[in-house]
Symmetry: C2
Subunit: 719 residues, 2 copies
């Protein structure tokens, strides 16, 4: 939970804004990476000075070359290394001696190939640390800074992108080339473009932190194959969104196990559970995208137009069919069709032909020319019942596509409301699409994608307004008592806590656990059960048995001493038959909870995100529907309600059709206390409360069955 | 259930293959529909003869014009009407007199505008019927036949599409222009292209039936805003798929209520429930698409390449990131990554660089040129563990895009296995994309969409192999007995059946209903309950009360005569308090079912698809998760199992974690009997069996509570 050490602004700035660059390992062979790197810097009009460094050549591309970096007389701010990985350390050592303070290591053959590569990567990192060099890579495509004051294309991408306000960071170098090509055709501009590769030094976290205050960047896109430090990613993302209002969009691949294993063989990384990743991103305010296309569809909406202040959209179309498709998606995305004011309707009625539909979606009819689009768009943008406009065009033979595109651009400038457009088709509409793209009207080939993008922008604006609340910290907990129990168990090399210990831990954190005592002989049973008060539950106690019910180790609703004694024998007999090798400590006797709704609370340690709390309804809801929600601990105060409401079966807790409303306040407190336990007792590797019984409103909850596992290793359990 | 009367092949052929065409209402004003129609026919090289008909002009576009159709000396096969709607009937009458046998009515202003328009449409239909004229429209864009023997562009679309094997039928004219533009840019060719508009005469059903035997058509696409005759659509689709193996893809808009109401105001149609539509399409083997893009993505896969014989794909990529994205989608779509044979692995290992990944996905590395793609693609296609190949390319600076595209085309011709491609980016890759598109390799900008399309093709192939089975017809039912009860209730103007009547109907259809008798006074209660045998259930009987439990009208598990008498009073007291105005017939006493899993069976009449059977698990599963499945009745024998398995909670019936397996055979028989009841007793408008109790395997089911509503009108019920 300690603070993250980010690279300083100066350190990153030296990479994006160097005044002089050495290309170390440049050559004269066109079509190779070493040549392309130098060539790109030159052809794209870098504002600083570039020095080719080559052991063999006197000049490359007409520019004087140096044998070694140390031979350069002038100061060198940054070095770009395109040498084979086996000699990179030598070149970097020289850069250090020369006083170079930043580098981009393009070369592959490091951590991603395993074995020797891992050692090589360690070595260059050590050299960089020794000389205070910050570097991007290795195993990357390079970086691009479109800022006209620098104009550096230090990458082997084919083309320099347009200048714009989108920053793009990618773990995959190859994907960058596809993205640049895709974006160029759509006139999408970038502020900074970074392929960060193996991130042996400068990480995506450092880059994000830098972009927070980069005045050229308004939206940040990130492609990730592994979330190596989920905690820091969440923290820096929250900081960016809160302090700068910049949206962060992440495309994270490796959603399926097979995808993750393809990722692992590719970057030597370990992908975490995808459900947890989803939850963590949402918790941090990150917009997760499913495809590259979605990512840019959302980004252009966010960066080109004002954020929608509300969800009431006006749809304008010259074709009924696409209007229906757009309406479908509008509703599906929880937007609403604006109801026009009388004034707007009057203007539309007066100015559009009788066959036009003046309700929403406004159908200006197939033969509409620019005048009808003008009237329709102006009227709806003026209407205070409208938060934004979605304009659809299909290319009829009389449609003046160019004029309509220009008019949309013109009108959209007059109002501080978002306007998105969808000119359907491809060749015929391209003249209009080009105008829209150049003049920053977000354009989508499909009306459905337009609606989805608008909805994203709206949701982001709502999120910005959400107040940040820290997690509640309960002062009444006894952390020392919990630690004593946990540490003793670990000292004794135990991996599960006994029932008595788990009850103790729950009590230390003031979780509403039902009292219980372990009986070790039949003669104690009646006395213990009587002291707790009937009815009681009896459960076998054994470190080897995790799923007690499955082996006949649990008997519920025991009403008197006679039943209790019989239950003791029944349990021991059954369990010794089903799990003959399990050492049995005795039978745990616990007061039985009154009837209520059974929920499950869990705690897991995720390799990327750390402590994760799980919540769901008990039984089949978890087993069959997987109807659970996750949050990373500590759970912020205003996230708790959302966590409970996220499950589909939530209405069961609020009382539907004859059911009573459950004690949600008490449930939320339990979740928050568990979150605090997760943060403070890191000895626990996994914890299951199954079930927690939630009583009617005002009547609290009861923790009944608890399992606590220790250590970082997972042990297989029987039963 | 009677046979559908399709238009004959000759009738439709006259529209697609006329030897002479009159454009009635043509003019000389460029940019208007009447001019564009004539101009398109001329410029796109129609192989027949065209006659302009205009009251005013002597010639149009250099072609001799006639004042009236009857003035034309030669025979006229087809007339295209572009007159205003108010005079269309006069023109059509003349066409009839002239002996014209087919027509396309472009003009708008008919049913879609309501009022007078509806009358006008009726009138032209009457005239057409009188003269035996088959016509497309009104309110449409026209038709296109790319068959080189005819080459007719009888539409006001901007451009004639390429010749190909996809037929496209659309209810929306405006959408057609966008589709043509979209397809042209991608070299997607069409066999027939039809905007059928209001389909006053020739319907989409007729067109589908014709396309079944059209040798030029291999895949059929249909855009619909309303399903006006769902039964016929299902029937003809099944016939096409079964007899010709041609896939049918439908984009049906109006998924949401708002979308449907936008559709209604657009075409004056009524959209049915979307869930039912989904189920019906699946039942008929129709592929439902979400967007125009999906539709063409799937279509090109189906039409360009052989269908995948299995689901084992090989992915080849020059970039790790996109390989991971593709793997994710492959798994999500239930495809599997092929495990290569030793032979294939050996070749790959020998021919690719050491850093390449020779497992699936095959990563030929960023600097791959055509030789590596060649080796990788040939090897995997030769491997008998591979059912198809997905090739990904990102534009690195050294990638020879054109050569790789050509090589993919060449290799794919050597093997009878599907090859799909995704060249990522836009401008740089366009040269390769163009080659792939022209040579019919299905191409996708996103690897994810490529995987989705491949999965669709695979699923279609599996579906083709599925055997068709008729619905089971039970001979032991007593339809007359059911009809007597239903007709008597209708004669008495009743809209709900009483408990005794519903039990009677169930018995007539041999549904396993528990015996029950209505008690009308307290003194009968003990005797009746005793005769049935305890335990019993008692329920209030009143036509006004549908949800009996909600008003305290049900008491379960009554064990003796004393309890039964008390229950009688309790029910009457409670109900008279909660629903004071309900006339109460008495209390229905029924034998109580043993414990089992509660499921719901329902019957509804859908305006588009007719009798629809619903199935789901009882209680919260239906109420909160809406976890239900639908089938249109009669349910084919091999659809029943699928219907039961479609619900997410299905594992509950098969026995999970300590539960017992339920009697699925008996459940399926109940569903089939209900399906037969739905077909034979059309007096029933709605029926609910809630719950049907499904016992353990071999022990049957019990119908407990049943509601049957009559008539076509829905009555509001209280309680």
């Amino acid at each position: 939970m300690s603070g993250i050490k980010y690279k300083s602004k100066e350190q990153i700035e030296r990479i994006f804004y160097p005044e002089s660059v050495a290309v170390v390992g440049a050559n004269r062979v066109k079509g190779t990476v070493p040549y392309d790197m130098l060539h790109n810097i030159l052809k794209d009009n870098y504002k600083g000075t570039v020095f080719p460094v080559s052991p063999r050549e006197k000049s490359i591309a007409g520019v004087k070359a140096y044998k070694y970096v140390i031979d350069i007389e002038d100061e060198v701010d940054m070095a770009i290394l395109v040498f084979p990985s086996s000699v990179c350390h030598l070149a970097l050592e020289q850069c250090g001696e020369k006083g170079v303070k930043s580098a981009i290591i393009i070369s592959a053959g490091f951590r991603e190939i395993g074995g020797d590569g891992v050692q090589r990567e360690k070595r260059i990192k050590e050299i960089a640390d020794k000389y205070g060099i910050s570097f991007i890579g290795p195993n990357c495509l390079g970086i691009i800074n479109t800022d006209p004051g620098c104009n550096l294309n230090a990458s082997f991408a084919r083309n320099m992108p347009e200048n714009g306000n989108i920053a793009f960071l990618s773990q995959s170098g190859a994907l960058c080339t596809a993205v640049l090509d895709y974006a160029r055709a759509k006139h999408i501009g970038f502020s900074k473009f970074v392929s960060f590769g193996n991130k042996a030094d400068v990480s995506e976290i450092d880059l994000l932190y830098y972009l927070k205050d980069d005045p050229k960047t308004k939206v940040i896109l990130l492609y990730l194959e592994e979330v190596s430090d989920g905690r820091s990613l969440m923290k820096v993302s929250r900081k960016i969104i809160r302090e700068s209002g910049k949206p962060i969009l992440i495309l994270k691949s490796g959603r399926t196990d097979e995808g993750a294993s393809a990722a692992a063989s590719h970057t030597g990384s370990l992908a975490g559970s995808d459900d947890v990743c989803d939850a963590a991103f949402t918790q941090a305010g990150i917009i997760r995208c499913d495809t590259i296309e979605d990512m840019f569809n959302f980004a252009i909406g966010l960066v080109y137009q004002p954020l929608p202040r509300g969800n009431r959209v006006a749809i304008i179309t010259n074709a009924g069919g696409p209007g229906v498709l757009a309406t479908d998606m509008t509703i599906k995305e929880n937007l609403s069709l604006a109801r026009f004011s009388e004034k707007a309707k009057e203007v539309l009625k007066k100015s559009l032909p009788g066959t036009a539909n003046i309700c929403n979606p406004v159908d200006v009819i197939g033969d509409a020319r620019v005048d009808r689009y003008n009237v329709a768009l102006s009227s709806v943008l003026q209407d205070e019942n409208v938060d934004g406009a979605l304009v659809i065009l299909t290319p009829q033979s009389m449609t003046d596509i160019k004029a309509i595109a220009e008019e949309i651009c013109r009108i959209s400038c007059c109002y501080n409301k978002p306007v998105y457009a969808s000119f359907m088709g491809e060749s015929d509409v391209s003249i209009g699409v080009d105008i829209l793209q150049r003049r920053k009207i977000p354009h989508y080939q499909l009306p459905e994608n337009m609606c989805k993008a608008f909805a994203r922008s709206y949701r982001f604006n709502r999120q910005l307004k959400k107040e940040y609340t820290a997690a509640v910290v309960f002062k009444d907990v006894d952390t020392d008592r919990a630690h004593t129990i946990l540490n003793e168990a670990i000292m004794n090399d135990r991996w599960f806590l006994s029932e008595a210990e788990t009850v103790n831990i729950m009590e230390a954190y003031k979780m509403p656990v039902l009292p219980g005592i372990l009986a070790v002989s039949e003669k104690d049973v009646g006395r213990i059960a009587g002291s707790l008060g009937y009815p009681v539950v009896m459960k076998v106690s054994s470190e080897k048995i995790v799923h007690k019910s499955d082996v006949g180790g649990v008997i519920l609703n025991i009403r008197d001493g006679k039943e209790a004694e019989a239950a003791y024998q029944t349990i021991l007999n059954k369990v010794s038959r089903t799990v003959p090798d399990a050492r049995i400590n005795g039978v745990f006797i616990q007061k039985m909870a009154a009837e209520g709704e059974e929920v499950i609370l869990g705690l897991k340690r995720d390799p990327s995100f750390g402590s994760v709390i799980m919540f769901g309804l008990g039984g089949i809801f978890v087993e069959i529907f997987r109807d659970v929600s996750f949050r990373v601990a500590p759970i912020e105060k205003n996230e708790v309600a959302g966590m409970v409401q996220d499950i589909k079966s939530y209405p069961i807790l609020t009382g539907v059709r004859g059911r009573s409303e459950k004690d949600l306040e008490s449930l939320k407190e339990c979740i928050q206390r568990l979150s605090q336990l997760a943060v403070e007792c890191t000895q626990i590797s996994e914890l299951d409360i199954n079930p927690l019984i939630v009583m009617d409103r005002g009547k609290g909850c009861y923790v009944t069955d608890i399992k606590i596992m220790l250590g970082t290793e997972r042990r297989k359990s029987c039963g």
